[in-house]
């Protein structure tokens, strides 16, 4: 089965509203990265997390290794937040390779 399960797979928001994306891990994740893949296909780094939380502007992310999940909260969504959000995890004992979720497509409309 999938090592990293993302939910929801797609989400539509109006500008100014808030949302939360989630990843559940069936592996012993040691670190988590969140990316935004823009419409051109480029991956933009959002967060690199060891267990704990980080905040950057309107984005906030948390990683709980014991409960095996990570979340990404988007506050006051803007049009430029549209794209596909991926989480990826490094697995304990497997070295530095990332296992990715299937992505969450976010569409922000006026």
């Amino acid at each position: 089965g999938d090592k990293v399960k993302q939910s929801p797979s797609a989400l539509s928001l109006q500008e100014g509203t808030n949302s939360a994306l989630r990843c559940n891990f069936s592996i012993a994740a040691t670190t988590v990265q969140w990316f935004l893949q823009n419409p051109r296909g480029s991956l933009i780094n959002l967060f690199y997390l060891v267990p704990g939380t980080k905040e950057n502007g309107r984005l906030k992310s948390a990683f709980d290794s014991k409960e095996s999940y990570s979340t990404l909260h988007i506050r006051d969504a803007q049009l430029e937040d549209s794209g596909t959000y991926f989480c990826a995890a490094e697995q304990q004992g497997t070295g530095s390779k990332l296992s990715f979720g299937k992505g969450a497509k976010l569409t922000v409309s006026p």
Partner: protein, 113 residues
């Protein structure tokens, strides 16, 4: 932030031909990676590379695939010969240390006809 470059951005080749994808990683990074993304699907790990050697490869890293970084130049992924199922976007990434933030390039879109 740190930039990883990939050349070319697009490549169209005939099945059976050889192709080399080039990656210019972040200058002081020591760990290099290739990932494969088939259209609309998730990213899949192919291989990682450190100190001139492959550390780990996945089942997707077929015998026709090879990687190298001769003399600190481009980190390359070579496919010889190519097959139809190799059509995908190939992303290069690099990191300073093993368990560290991986920075991704913009991808090379490979189409095998």
């Amino acid at each position: 932030g740190p930039k990883v470059l990939q050349i070319p951005s697009h490549q169209i080749i005939d099945m059976g031909q050889m192709v080399t994808l080039n990656c210019d990683p972040v200058s002081n990074h020591l760990y290099f990676y290739w990932y494969k993304q088939i259209l609309g699907q998730q990213m899949e790990f192919l291989v990682n590379f450190y100190n001139g050697k492959v550390m780990e490869k996945s089942k997707l890293f077929k015998d026709q695939f090879s990687v190298e970084r001769p003399d600190g130049s481009y980190f390359t992924l070579k496919i010889q010969p190519t097959a139809l199922e190799d059509s995908a976007v190939y992303f290069c990434a690099s990191s300073l240390q093993g368990e560290d933030t991986q920075y991704f390039g913009p991808g090379t879109r490979l189409l095998v006809l």
